[in-house]
């Protein structure tokens, strides 16, 4: 949901009681942990958006209809940095392009009926796909995918609503250091997924983005980073 398949937060042990027979206790616990982590991220997202000056409906509506944490942070971050809405939208779309292969990976779980296909597609996230791919049995795959997807949808949207309501009450967010919370959230999500190959492309891309910042309108330098991917890929492996 945040740009990466990175489902391993280890903090409070929460046991999600599930009457769904096909879910074993360990899996249910894991899903519960991921839901708790996403609630924290959702609270931060809502608070950062409204304390930065966006009206309450924007983060709330975005969470309902986009439902992809990384892209939401990217889009709101670009706008709060003074960039255009279009730049934020493009950054969000590039981030969400990774959902394309995920759709193929879980297609069998969504079935052939239109209602379940449409709803299932919308709750396809890094987390629900990662959980589904851990299971070999079809019935279990389906149970895990739907439990995780629907639980995250409900938790994420409630958390964003609560965070947005709290953030709107904050006056001076710089005093609280909330502007450092946004890059910190992204960092915690992206760092564990860096491999040797992506690390070089990412560092080069980040350098290009910083170099472009004084000359390009806000929001665009981040997109320049994608050139790092092209440059590193051209070299022989």
């Amino acid at each position: 949901m945040f740009g990466l398949t990175n489902a391993g937060p280890v903090f409070t042990v929460v046991v999600m009681r599930s009457t769904w027979r096909t879910l074993d206790r360990g899996t249910a616990t894991d899903i519960g942990l991921v839901v708790v982590a996403d609630v924290v991220v959702g609270l931060s997202f809502g608070a950062i958006a409204t304390s930065g000056g966006l009206p309450l409906w924007q983060p709330v509506l975005m969470s309902l209809i986009v439902f992809a944490g990384g892209a939401q942070f990217a889009a709101v971050g670009a706008v709060l940095a003074g960039g255009s809405a279009t730049a934020g939208m493009v950054a969000g779309l590039v981030l969400n392009a990774r959902l394309l292969p995920f759709g193929f990976a879980v297609a069998d779980v969504l079935g052939d009926r239109w209602p379940t296909r449409l709803v299932g597609a919308h709750v396809t996230t890094d987390e629900s796909v990662a959980f589904a791919l851990r299971e070999d049995d079809h019935g279990r795959r389906r149970a895990v995918f739907w439990t995780c997807g629907l639980a995250l949808f409900v938790a994420w949207n409630l958390a964003v609503l609560a965070g947005a309501a709290l953030g709107g009450a904050l006056r001076d967010t710089d005093v609280l250091g909330l502007d450092a919370a946004f890059p910190a959230v992204l960092l915690a999500l992206v760092l564990p997924s860096l491999t040797r190959r992506t690390r070089r492309a990412a560092l080069l891309g980040a350098g290009l983005a910083i170099a472009a910042t004084p000359v390009l309108p806000p929001g665009l330098p981040v997109l320049v980073a994608l050139a790092g991917l092209v440059l590193v890929r051209r070299e022989p492996a």
Partner: protein, 102 residues
């Protein structure tokens, strides 16, 4: 964020999600396309971290913010729990500003 940009983002995202379930019997996605899409997401996120840590508009953001993000980086590498990472970053930046660091 304008409503139009928000709706385009939502529609595009939903399309990315729906293509697989609709085409799975007719198309298979090549492996290199799959890894390229994943890498693009990682590169973009790292650039977002660095630019939002160091810059504000078209200028340097000051020292307090990147210092807070640096603390977050150390905590992530030491596998600290997620809420600790975020709160420590904000607290570091807030304390530095209290001490007069821009």
């Amino acid at each position: 964020m304008t409503l139009a940009a928000l709706l385009v983002l939502a529609a595009g995202t939903f399309a990315f999600r729906l293509v697989g379930p609709l085409l799975r019997d007719r198309v298979t996605l090549p492996g290199h396309v799959e890894s390229l899409l994943g890498d693009a997401a990682t590169v973009l996120l790292v650039a977002l971290v660095v630019t939002s840590a160091l810059t504000q508009g078209q200028a340097f953001a000051g020292w307090a913010r990147p210092a807070g993000v640096l603390v977050a980086a150390v905590l992530v590498l030491r596998r600290a729990p997620f809420p600790v990472v975020v709160i420590a970053a904000a607290a570091t930046t807030a304390v530095l500003r209290l001490l007069g660091v821009p």
